[in-house]
Symmetry: C2
């Protein structure tokens, strides 16, 4: 039997090791058995500290979010000031700063739930650095020349924000309003809180709206034309 720890220590230890596993394999790609093994315990120990696998994931995000509470407070202040530009500017900066401060969290948020398609094992590990260098260098060069001013901002922001909003960044920035540790809180409620907050600031999208991120048809009608 492993060394006995006090409850708090064990919990912290689990969180600490879970970060790496989630960052590596993604949420769905990570099994509770793996999480337990990584922490050097068995599964029931996990469930003594975290009600569900999701809770553990959320605990990580929230633990990390706690570290930037000051910046979140500053954001709240900006939000109250009514200066839209400064407010959203601060959000963007918080994203970028946070990523640089804590690459582990950055990876968790950016790639956290990114699964590896089967063959990607070595592929990623060895290709990533090269490919990253290639394209980073390229984009950087081109941007210095004034290129990609529009399209890159589009694509980059879309990818960045799409993922970050997925994976808890909103929670990270608005820990008070959006507690993901309360799964009972419905998505509708969360949306309301957020949109109300935006509406109060008088926010209106500056463009009609980009290609809708989602088609209406959840599952195409099976009677749809099958034309060749």
């Amino acid at each position: 039997m492993k060394v006995r720890m006090k409850s708090g220590e064990r919990r912290a230890d689990i969180v600490r090791s879970a970060i790496h596993v989630f960052a590596e394999k993604g949420f769905r790609g990570t099994t509770t058995r793996e999480l337990a093994a990584a922490a050097g315990v068995t599964e029931p120990v996990l469930y003594q500290h975290f009600h569900t696998k999701s809770d553990l994931y959320c605990a990580i995000i929230e633990a990390k979010a706690g570290e930037v509470s000051t910046s979140a407070a500053a954001l709240a202040e900006l939000a109250a000031s009514g200066d839209d530009r400064a407010f959203f500017g601060a959000i963007g900066e918080a994203i970028l700063r946070r990523y640089q401060e804590d690459p582990e969290l950055g990876r968790l948020l950016l790639f956290g739930s990114l699964e590896r398609h089967e063959m990607a094992d070595l592929f990623f590990d060895r290709l990533y650095a090269n490919f990253y260098n290639m394209v980073t260098g390229y984009i950087r060069r081109r941007m210095r020349q004034g290129a990609f001013r529009k399209v890159n901002a589009d694509v980059a922001a879309r990818g960045l924000i799409g993922m970050l909003s997925y994976h808890g960044l909103v929670t990270l920035l608005f820990p008070k309003q959006f507690s993901i540790s309360k799964p009972r809180q419905t998505a509708d409620q969360m949306v309301s809180v957020f949109l109300d907050g935006i509406a109060e600031k008088g926010y209106r999208p500056e463009e009609p709206m980009p290609p809708a991120p989602r088609a209406e048809s959840e599952r195409p009608d099976s009677t749809h034309s099958t034309g060749s």
Copy 2:
């Protein structure tokens, strides 16, 4: 019983409907039952046309990749020319152009394997557009002012490339060298082909290498210090 189709038609139909499901729920988040239901058939029909769920996913990517074979050919030409800058420039442009041409594929590649963390159902659908507008607008504005020239290129490229290289873009750009429909081809082989191709062009990373995207420890040693 559903309408009978010829094999080719049914296969195309399955691919067509599977795109939406994968784009919506991600690879791991999509079940074969869902794929079958979306196509209006039962599961065995899926397995009549595709050996595995992965094969279906790959079929989508490859079907789409076929549509840009000309651009891939142009890339190959550039690669042969030895002009590093033009070569990687073309890669970057292909990424961005492709995204604009075919948002569905873009989503599949960018968000394709992005699962939705449980509570995200409505959250994403209704929040995404607003959040996207906010931050896109912000980044665009700031870039016009010359800000984020460095940090944004970093983060954007990292997120973009990390995901794209994960999810088949490399295959999309190099359909000949990397056929993901041959899962027997090992990751090692793919890496070799790619790196050899790069090496032939005399490519060397222009910077030492950014914060390593990956820690050495796959699963932290269970004997690691447990601190306070």
